[in-house]
């Protein structure tokens, strides 16, 4: 009996190790894809720079490979293990070859510096890492408890994994049938490498998305934000009730928010320095957003609108580039919309027409009030929102107008968008109850944006106050 139990234990350990090793391989492939693309788009001067941007590379790899998988699936290419492996390898090898042909040189050494900021950065990385390790334990042991996850996100993923296609009957009858399939496709890719539709281990994939996002956020912000301003905000978002503690949940909301926030930061930087690679990467992330959730269309639209406003002073050069970006996003969004229209699925738009100001007038004020209430709730976002509002005011006083206008407009538009969703869909109750209205999920994008923008705004204000070289945001 003891021998039998020992044998079973070894077998479990082997299965467990196989599943974890599969996930590691998949995510290394995604990281390699994004690193290759970033090397092609901008190059890396030093290994330290590559390390700083590795999180962004990972997220870029996830979105690029996930979007290609999704578009191939929609085009009718069977989603097999072969496709799962070939796409990231092709992206990695292809971008590396083109980068070499264009004369990109490999990164060199690089110095970590020796100032006090080095110690602050080390403490920040250590504290953030510990929190993420704590979240790993929660992710490794989590069951499938969330309604949307087990009612349609994971069933869709299982169907793609098991049948290798978008089974029309199944996909058109599930709840959320018009939701784009990027997240189920990523899940199915993970299942292929895990070796089965193991929904427990899948939570680790979402934890890795979270780690990638935090790394990407810190890496992008570190370019312009001093360490002592940056790391408290990274820790703040990890301990906010509806952000860090939800890293492992196998739904699309947080992934959408990650892409939105990183795209917003890259667009803000692009408006400031016009480094073309930033807009290219932001466009890829925006394209991923419209393949992730239907709210992704709204968030991408308001982001581009805020960018138009913030770049109005240089509209001749900025607006055409933003127009091209918008065109790419629409082109990527189209195939899925064509698929569900062809198969008779109800659309993603509002049921009451959308912009008719005379429709549902009794819902107008309560809907927008609900969005503002959710935004200002410390139960969901801790102190993120009041701190962000303070940072916006300080940045405006410091004449960091571009950043203040961009992020202020964006937060306002997202909040108005949340109110608009409730207003134009009469089926939604005016409530923060998760099962009756998606407003809390949607406003997570505004909260995460506030957490990400605050250090940048404060750094701009600090730079102005100290008149030292740093953020040039005016």
């Amino acid at each position: 009996m003891g021998e039998r139990r020992g044998h079973r234990h070894r077998e479990d350990s082997t299965l467990n190790a196989y599943a974890l090793a599969g996930l590691v391989v998949l995510n290394l492939l995604l990281l390699a894809s994004g690193t290759g693309l970033l090397w092609l788009l901008r190059g890396f001067d030093t290994w330290l720079e590559l390390g700083r941007l590795a999180g962004l590379a990972y997220v870029l790899g996830v979105v690029t490979v996930g979007s290609l998988w999704t578009l191939l699936l929609i085009a009718g290419i069977p989603f097999s293990l072969w496709i799962v492996l070939v796409v990231p390898v092709a992206v990695t090898v292809g971008s590396a070859l083109i980068a070499r042909r264009r004369g990109r040189s490999p990164p060199r050494g690089g110095s970590v510096g020796a100032g006090n900021s080095l110690i602050v950065t080390a403490v920040g990385i250590s504290a953030t890492g510990l929190l993420l390790e704590g979240l790993f334990r929660m992710s490794r042991l989590s069951g499938l408890y969330w309604w949307d996850a087990w009612s349609f996100w994971i069933p869709k993923a299982k169907a793609i994994y098991l049948f290798g296609n978008l089974d029309v009957e199944f996909f058109t009858t599930l709840p959320g049938s018009s939701y784009p399939p990027l997240v189920p496709v990523l899940d199915a890719g993970a299942f292929h490498l895990i070796g089965s539709a193991d929904v427990v281990t899948l939570h680790l994939q979402y934890w890795l998305f979270g780690v990638g996002f935090v790394w990407a956020l810190a890496g992008i912000l570190a370019e312009r934000v001093p360490a002592w301003i940056l790391w408290p905000f990274v820790l703040l978002l990890l301990v906010a009730p509806r952000i860090g503690r939800r890293f492992h949940i196998t739904e699309a909301d947080l992934l959408l928010d990650y892409l939105f926030v990183l795209a917003a930061l890259l667009v803000a930087y692009w408006i400031l320095d016009r480094a073309r690679w930033r807009l290219v990467v932001a466009t890829v992330l925006l394209s991923g957003m419209v393949l992730t959730k239907r709210e992704g269309m709204l968030l991408a639209a308001v982001l581009l609108l805020a960018a138009l406003l913030a770049s109005a002073r240089q509209w001749r050069s900025a607006w055409p580039a933003l127009g091209v970006s918008a065109g790419v996003v629409v082109a990527v969004a189209a195939p899925w919309r064509i698929w569900y229209v062809v198969h008779g699925v109800a659309g993603e738009g509002p049921t009451s027409g959308g912009l008719d100001p005379t429709a549902n007038t009794e819902r107008l004020w309560p809907s927008f009030r609900l969005a503002f209430d959710v935004l200002l709730s410390s139960d969901y976002w801790s102190v993120i929102i009041p701190v962000a509002l303070g940072a916006l005011v300080l940045a405006a006083f410091a004449r960091a107008y571009v950043l203040a206008v961009f992020f202020g407009t964006l937060v306002a538009l997202v909040t108005l968008g949340g109110g608009w969703i409730t207003w134009v869909i009469p089926e939604l109750e005016i409530t923060q109850e998760l099962g009756a209205n998606p407003i809390v999920r949607f406003m997570g994008s505004a909260a995460l944006l506030c957490a990400a923008a605050s250090p940048l705004l404060l750094a701009a204000a600090w730079s102005a106050v100290t008149a030292r070289e740093g953020v040039d945001a005016t």
Binding site: R8, E11, D12, L15, N16, V112, A114, L118, I119, T121, A122, V123, I125, S126, G129, L130, E133, R137, R140, L141, L162, F163, S196, A197, D198, V200
Partner: protein, 120 residues
Amino acid sequence: MTARAWVAVAIVLVPLLGYPLVTLAGGSPRFPSREECVRSPVEGQPVDLVFGRFDDPEVAAETADQVVAVGFIGTEAFPDGCGRWKVVLGGVPSLETAREIQAEAATVDLRPTLELGSED
């Protein structure tokens, strides 16, 4: 590297390596195995006759069709909740009846096993 850089490396690595090592020193978490999806039948409770478990749903469906074709009407392929698909004739009211069906299946070279009936 400077002394300050070594201090920074230590600040990062000591807690990040120490925390999992201390945690794992108390033993790694235990996960249920696939075999634990197989529950022995209990006298007085419904019984399932399981004609096999498969990784591929199509193979499971084909097997279910073959079992139905030789007379075991109502046999279907279901996910077993542990990443595989099982071919089941479910809802047999008693262990005694299940054993009779099992013996009948053996006459057509089928070897179903008896399991505790699933609630659904």
